[in-house]
Amino acid sequence: MVQPTDSPILSVENLRVDFATFAGPVHAIRDVSFTLNKGETLAIVGESGSGKSVTVRSIMGLLANNARIVAGRIMFQDADILKNTKRQLNALRGNDIAMIFQDPMTSLDPTMPIGKQVAEPLRLHTSISEKKALAEAVRVLQLVGIQDAAERLKDYPHQFSGGQRQRIVIAMAIITQPQILLADEPTTALDVTIQAQIIHLLKEIQATTGTSIIFITHDLGVVAGIADRVAVMYAGKIVEYGMVDEIFYNPQHPYTWGLLEAMPTLTTSADRLYTIPGTPPDLLAPPPGDAFAPRNPFAMQIDLAEQPPFFPVSPTHAAATWLLHPAAPQVTLPPEIARRRQIWAARFAH
């Protein structure tokens, strides 16, 4: 069993990404910094459009043509990935850093047998023979739970179910034993039981290989089962980060509160599901203050005017909200959040 460590394997520093559009530049990523430690799973959560995909795509160099990296560095193995040449980038992709995408139904080439697809990263990054690569493909396919992998190498994607296809996609990503796995909503397109199986599989792989994972989701419910740490994104910024328990039981940013309240629990039925009222800001012209302020029932004057800095809550936990400023008034927490804080407090009482 490999344990997560505190030594960073990847660090994103002050990243800013714009997209050129007819209406002007869309400021999709606005000064994002975080680190990924060896062997850990970092979950990035946030509503649709908050910039989760753009963040991991920047790491892979897979941004759309109209993207422009305005500022920042992405450090991996003592070098800035953003400065890589195309050739260096190709050598990195699928080898040191691999990615798993959202939709398993469209992630596989419909005209290539799956064995060849799974073996492809090995063929691209090593000088291994086709035969050996296919043997290795059988091994990883068995590892991810494809039955009779050896007999199914010549089968095509359409002969597998959605859950099986996502397993194949994962096999394809781990065959080179990458140091980092970027998983962009790998379970969103799957039904709940399959979701749980895939997450279990990712944890298992991590436990044996020690790979670091960035797991993107907009579903906090999934996060509890997989993440060691969580970063919450809103409108192109990280607004709070911390250990998974710190985010779940001692959340500080009103946006994190909103996400937690929107999480379905055993006692809330789906039709009474709470969603955060309002919509995210227009990233063509992001507001000067806390971007969440217009939707924040606890917003103060300063929230509208000035961007809050990160206030540390613990050595591993910080949130960018003026509510943590010493001069800020105490607010009455929403009941769900108060309940969670009580659980948190009870933990330290013993």
């Binding site: 897979l62 080439d109 419909p110 005209t111 290539m112």
Partner: protein
């Protein structure tokens, strides 16, 4: 698979039967007769009509013809006395097949290449040039292209024979003239399809695996983009056959296209019938080949007719 091909061959026979019937009666409705040479005396014409069975009632002529066809006899040419239609066609099919196959291969292969490059360099000057080329190729009729090629490359520059069939070197210009339309069509189709494919998720995944741009295209994009291109091979074959009627005449190629036009002007019914059926057979054959190709390129399509979800 074998069952499937047999079934399709059955359809081919049925198609030929229907085509033969239609053509036969249509020709009976045409004005003019095969013996309109003013030098032939009326009593000679009567003899000829009797000799070829044209004095019988139409239904009897039809029956006689069809019985002959079933036995592999397609009658004798009126124009070339004593020559059977089968023999006439056999002496003329060679050059036409050569031109057709060459034009099809060059057209589709270059078209695929051109379309692929245009898609990879979307909105660049390469793309623009390819688009203009495709528009020209599709909008200029092939007899104009044929005439232009003939004038400049053969007549002015003497690079090729003008209108003389001496084998391969004389096939180059007509092949080019014929290949232009399939080339342009394939290129246009390929470009559209490849632009789509290059935007698809599995290409993104392949890129994330570390494939370079060229590897992406060679390993994943080409094959997937070619699937719809296969569908236009059938219609392109029709175009080629029609085109050959004109182009063979321009370059004086002793092929079936030229013969067809000649036979129509002389009302040589048996030859027209034979060639019409040959064209239909070739076309149905092309469509059969296309379907088989489809199954090879796209694993989701199974020729056995099994339903794959």
């Amino acid at each position: 698979m074998i069952k499937y091909v047999l079934k399709r061959l059955g359809y081919l026979v049925l198609t030929l039967f229907i085509v033969a019937t239609f053509t036969f009666f249509l020709m009976k409705l045409l004005p003019g007769t095969p013996f309109n040479n003013p030098k032939i005396a009326p009593d000679q014409i009567a003899v000829l009509r009797k000799q070829y069975g044209l004095d019988l009632p139409v239904w009897q002529q039809y029956l006689n013809y069809m019985v002959g066809v079933v036995h592999g006899r397609f009658g004798e040419s009126y124009q070339f006395t004593g020559q059977s239609v089968s023999y006439l066609i056999s002496t003329r099919i060679g050059p036409s097949l050569q031109l057709g196959v060459q034009a099809m291969l060059i057209g589709t292969l270059l078209g695929i290449l051109l379309g692929a490059v245009a898609a990879m360099r979307k909105n660049s000057w390469v793309d623009a040039t390819a688009t203009i080329f495709a528009i020209i190729g599709r909008s200029i009729p092939n007899f104009v292209i044929a005439a232009l090629l003939q004038f400049w490359l053969a007549y002015k520059l003497h690079w090729f024979p003008i209108a003389l069939w001496t084998g391969f070197s004389s096939s180059i210009l007509p092949t080019l003239a014929l290949a232009m339309a399939p080339l342009a069509n394939t290129a246009r189709f390929m470009r559209t399809e490849m632009v789509d494919v290059l935007n698809s998720d599995y290409i993104e995944v392949a890129r994330a695996k570390g494939n370079s741009q060229w590897q992406l295209v060679a390993r994943h994009a080409l094959r997937n983009s070619m699937i719809p291109v296969v569908t236009i091979i059938g219609p392109m074959a029709v175009d080629l056959m029609l085109g050959s009627l004109v182009v063979e005449n321009v370059f004086a190629i002793p092929g079936i296209g030229q013969q067809f036009v000649q036979s129509i002007t002389t009302n040589d019914y048996p030859v027209i019938m034979g060639l019409t059926m040959l064209y239909s057979a070739m076309l149905t054959g092309v469509i059969l080949i296309v379907d088989i190709l489809y199954g090879i390129i796209d694993p989701r399509i199974r020729l056995s007719g099994e339903v794959n979800a």
